[in-house]
């Protein structure tokens, strides 16, 4: 990899020694059944509920609240009757601000649960295989994007139940799509990555009118003219193996594969000539023992830090907006040995949650350091 870079353009490697700028302590540990928990997500959509988080594992979706003193309160729990195994969850909300929990998994159906009235609001059918990730558009929280094993990425309107766009086809992913993310400021842009080792950047600009139409559609959802976007704006081959998590950091992308590191890179896209573009790898954040796929990292609200678990049950917290990369903390616990599938950082990064393969949820809280 290093031979490819011109002088001055080598990626900056982070050092694995923690700086101890912030230290964390385990404050709670929950055992939620015996099945692996695949996702844990704080609700960043609604500021009233910043300390509420959801987890999914097996056929269950659970909503908790983080309280003072390390207390975790169970608020709601939803169980799927069918033989479902949820892999991902996200928070969305309706037009009038009702919080929604959107979960998806093995069966390929997105379940939109109205957490306010504790009922299922809608179920989205359409994906041909299991769903690996669902993310919400923070600028328009009624829009969610889902990445699926059927190699497609779909945009849904949770309010009206319409499948607006499908990103797949001749230029689409050639294998399971593992992760997808909305651009924080450019409402038309999404990035997806998958088992075909690529990260693809897509644009919805062409069909934005349809996105808007979906809000006012009154006819049957199945009659909506769902559009196909077959060609991404850019395809980046940075990794040489499955890329299982990608997130936008401004105009840069953080993505990770199964080679023990998170990569920060800049896509230089030529809008006029799609397909042409280049990649500038900026930094790398090493994460030891992170070589199994389906481990996702998370960031706090302002993208100051990112927390990632590994298969040994350890958590690494990296500072994102510094160069060279700074490791804020390395969190270990003698009893935390199970692979951590996803972490969740609270709004300000003071609480870190991790959900593990053995069904446990660990809560780490920041302690004042000298």
């Amino acid at each position: 990899m290093s031979g490819k870079f011109t002088i001055g353009s080598e990626p900056v490697m982070g050092l694995p020694t923690p700086s101890k700028k912030r230290d964390y302590r385990v404050t709670n540990r929950l055992q939620e059944g015996k099945r692996p928990l695949y996702a844990v997500v704080f609700n960043f959509i609604d500021s009233r509920h910043f300390n509420v988080f959801a987890t999914v594992g097996g056929n269950r979706v659970t909503v908790y609240q983080c309280l003072e003193g390390g207390v975790i309160a169970v608020l709601q729990s939803y169980v799927d009757e069918d033989d479902e195994s949820f892999y991902t969850v996200t928070w969305a909300c309706s037009i009038d601000g009702m919080p929604f929990v959107v979960a998806g998994g093995l069966n390929g159906i997105l379940r939109v649960i109205d957490a306010g009235s504790e009922k299922i609001h809608k179920s989205f059918v359409g994906h041909g295989d299991s769903i690996n990730e669902i993310r919400t558009q923070p600028l328009k929280p009624s829009l969610v994007v889902s990445a699926s094993k059927d190699e497609s990425v779909r945009i849904w309107n949770v309010h009206t139940g319409i499948c607006i766009l499908i990103f797949s086809g001749a230029g689409g992913h050639r294998n399971e799509v593992l992760s997808v993310d909305f651009h924080p400021s450019d409402i038309y842009r999404i990035a997806s990555c998958g088992m075909d080792n690529t990260v693809k950047i897509w644009s919805m600009k062409e069909f934005w009118t349809y996105v808007e139409k979906s809000f006012t559609w009154t006819d049957l959802p199945s009659k909506f003219p769902t559009k196909y976007v077959q060609f991404p704006v850019f395809t980046a081959s940075i990794h040489s193996n499955y890329v299982d998590c990608n997130r936008w950091l401004g105009d840069f992308i953080l993505s990770k594969s199964v080679d023990n590191e998170i990569v920060l890179w800049e896509p230089k896209v030529k809008d006029q000539s799609p397909g042409e573009g280049s990649v500038d790898i900026l930094q790398k954040y090493p994460v030891p023992d992170c070589d199994i796929w389906f481990i996702k990292f998370s960031c706090d609200f302002h993208y100051n830090a990112a927390a990632i678990g590994n298969r040994e049950g350890k958590i690494f917290v990296w500072e994102l907006q510094s160069s060279p990369p700074v490791l804020i903390a390395r969190l270990t616990h003698a009893q935390s040995k199970s692979p951590i599938r996803q972490t969740a950082m609270s709004f300000d990064g003071s609480t870190i949650l991790s959900c593990c393969e053995d069904g446990t949820i660990w809560r780490w809280d920041a302690v004042a350091t000298s």
Binding site: V125, G126, H127, G128, C163, I166, E206, F207, L220, P221, S222, K223, F224, P225, T226, K227, Y228, V229, Q230, F231, S273, P274, G275
Partner: protein, 613 residues
């Protein structure tokens, strides 16, 4: 195969009428099919008998013929002995010197029983197939007995198998003296097994001599129990051997032969009047002549294996067929006649019985649904239906749909037909199953839409499935959730039933976008050229210009459509003209059309320069 009698020439409308009257034979076929399906599990008595008969014909058996020289009986008579009686008997008990044999059939070998003029007299027995016979034979209990009584005259034609034998036949109830011989079946079986002839299916002959010894025997026939008891004399020396009788036993396997379909091949004397070409007549072929159009016309069909043409059941023989037709197909009159060359049945319609099934004029009883529920069905309201309630009306008015009939069978299960316990004739209307919202439309009859395309279906498939496929498909379409092929979004019922073909849902917007995107990939083409290409591609796709012959029209239409836009862009119009020249080069565009296009473009241009107010 149905052959039309070509003697009568008909006009077109007479043909129609003729067809219609012929179709009278089609209508009951549906009913017979239903009955036949039921009869598969539970055949009627006649059917079962015929089936057994067919099975029996194919069962393998051994026919055993025992023959003696005719002179034997003469000899016996001279000695005041009755002719030899042959029994195929089973040893029931053998106690001391008393052996009791049970038999079911016996034969009197009288000279008159044999074939005239032959020197042999024969008795025939039917034995089970060689493998079935094996255990019996090996057990040693079966034997062939030859008995000749002393001083008894057995009159001709005595049937020793009959239940009650005349007691006067045998002078004393206690029996009488006789001479008897025994051939154990075991030895016969062994020799048959080893005989190469027999295993090949041919006749195997065995000659053996039997010693006739004296003894005391009693013949008793009580009801079904026919026994002959033989008491052997205690003193072996007193046994007098009458003589040795030469017996020939021949056996042959029958029934197993693959019946060649060309069993009875008639090559000569084919009546050319009714058959214009040689048909190899097989044993089971029956000719059916259908009279129609007021008995003016006749159509012929031939079935094989004595099958009935209506319900296709195989009747084992012509007699069986006769019984079957008269009993099962009551609607028609049948005349049976057999000649040397063929067996035929003339079929004509029984007019009086048909009338009794009163059907209204213009209404095809086949098209009417008849449903009856004996207990009220719980109304199952599928979610779709509630949502689509407002769509029921449009569907009702669209009674032009050819698929207007619901299956008889589906009615009972159909979730929509929860009309409680009512039996009613519902008219032909696709609204019937969805008539929650509008019960009035139940009675509407649109039978006229269904043009009677009643062909002689039973000539081909025997099921009028072609006619039924549409309503059946319609019912199937309601049964499950369908999804759009590209988007995998669930389809509403009305979309499923609509006439619109949603097979390949090409999205114009997307296609345009893709097209532009792909054109953008070209680096050696100018922007205007790309635009030109895009416009043409889009036009061709939307207008479905597929063949070479479409091009002239397409060029003109394109010019007219985009003319006003083209003239604003000189580069674009140049591209278009260049393209037309290219097409002309390839011979796809003729000069006149090109001229027309250009003339129109010029007009646009002049209008553009000086727009009329």
């Amino acid at each position: 195969m149905c052959r039309q009698d070509s003697r009568v020439r008909l006009s077109a409308e007479e043909e129609m009428e003729a067809e219609e009257s012929l179709s009278i034979y089609c209508k009951p076929v549906e009913l017979y099919n239903i009955l036949q399906r039921r009869a598969i599990r539970n055949p009627s008595f006649l059917q079962r008998c015929l089936r057994y008969k067919i099975q029996a014909k194919h069962k393998r058996r051994i026919q055993m013929t025992i023959s003696l020289s005719a002179t034997v009986n003469e000899v016996l008579k001279s000695q005041n002995l009755s002719p030899i009686c042959i029994f195929l008997a089973r040893l029931v008990s053998n106690v001391e010197y008393l052996a009791v044999y049970r038999f079911s059939r016996g034969c009197v070998l009288d000279s008159s029983a044999g074939v005239e003029g032959s020197t042999q007299i024969q008795a025939h027995f039917i034995l089970p197939e060689i493998n079935k016979l094996a255990p019996e034979a090996k057990s040693g209990s079966l034997a062939i007995l030859l008995v000749s009584w002393v001083g008894v005259e057995i009159p001709l034609g005595t049937n020793l198998s009959k239940g009650s034998l005349d007691p006067n036949l045998l002078p004393s109830a206690g029996g009488g003296y006789c001479f008897w011989g025994k051939i154990p079946l075991e030895s016969l079986y062994m020799s048959w097994e080893n005989s190469p002839n027999f295993s090949l299916g041919q006749r195997a002959e065995i000659m053996t001599t039997v010693n006739m010894n004296s003894c005391f025997s009693k013949l008793s026939c009580l009801n079904e129990d026919k026994c002959i008891s033989v008491q052997l004399p205690c003193n072996p020396e007193t046994v007098t051997t009458l003589q040795q009788v030469q017996v020939t036993i021949s056996a042959e396997e029958m029934g197993a032969k693959e019946k060649s379909p060309y069993n009875s091949y008639i090559c000569s004397d084919i009546p050319s009047s009714s058959l214009s070409h040689i048909i190899r007549l097989r044993a089971g072929n029956v000719i059916f002549n259908y009279r129609y159009y007021n008995n003016k016309l006749q159509r012929t069909e031939v079935t094989e294996d004595f099958s009935c043409p209506f319900c296709l059941v195989k009747c084992a023989s012509f007699k069986g067929l006769r019984c079957h037709l008269s009993s099962s197909h009551d609607l028609f009159n049948f005349e049976f006649w057999v000649t040397e060359e063929y067996q035929a049945v003339n079929v004509s319609v029984k007019t009086d019985t048909w009338r009794s099934e009163a059907v209204a004029d213009g209404v095809d009883p086949k098209q009417q649904t008849f449903s009856f529920c004996s207990k009220p069905l719980r109304r199952r309201r599928p979610k779709n239906l509630v949502q689509n309630a407002k769509h029921v009306h449009p569907l009702v008015l669209e009674s032009e749909l050819p698929s207007g009939v619901c299956e008889l069978q589906d009615k009972a299960d159909d979730a929509h037909s929860s009309k409680g316990d009512k039996a009613y004739f519902s008219g032909v209307s696709s609204a019937t199953p969805q008539s929650y919202a509008d019960p009035d439309c139940v009675q509407s009859i649109s039978g006229s839409n269904l043009a009677p395309s009643t062909m002689l279906a039973f000539a081909k498939t025997r099921k009028l499935s072609i006619e039924r496929s549409d309503p059946r498909n319609c019912a199937l379409l309601r049964k499950r959730q369908f999804f759009h092929s590209h988007r995998a979004q669930p389809m509403a019922l009305e979309q499923v039933l609509s006439e619109r073909d949603s097979e390949d849902e090409v999205d114009d917007d997307v296609a345009d976008f893709e097209d532009r995107r792909m054109l953008d990939d070209f680096v050696d083409v100018t922007k205007d050229e790309k635009l030109m290409m895009h416009m043409w591609n889009s036009f061709v796709r939307k207008q479905r210009v597929l063949a070479d012959g479409h091009i002239p029209w397409a060029c003109e239409a394109f010019s007219r459509l985009h003319g006003p836009d083209l003239v604003h862009n000189s580069a674009l119009i140049k591209c278009w003209r260049l393209f037309m020249i290219k097409l002309w080069n390839h011979g796809l565009l003729d000069a006149r059309t090109m001229n027309n296009c250009n003339v129109f473009l010029e007009q646009c241009q002049s209008q553009d320069l000086c727009p009329k107010s």
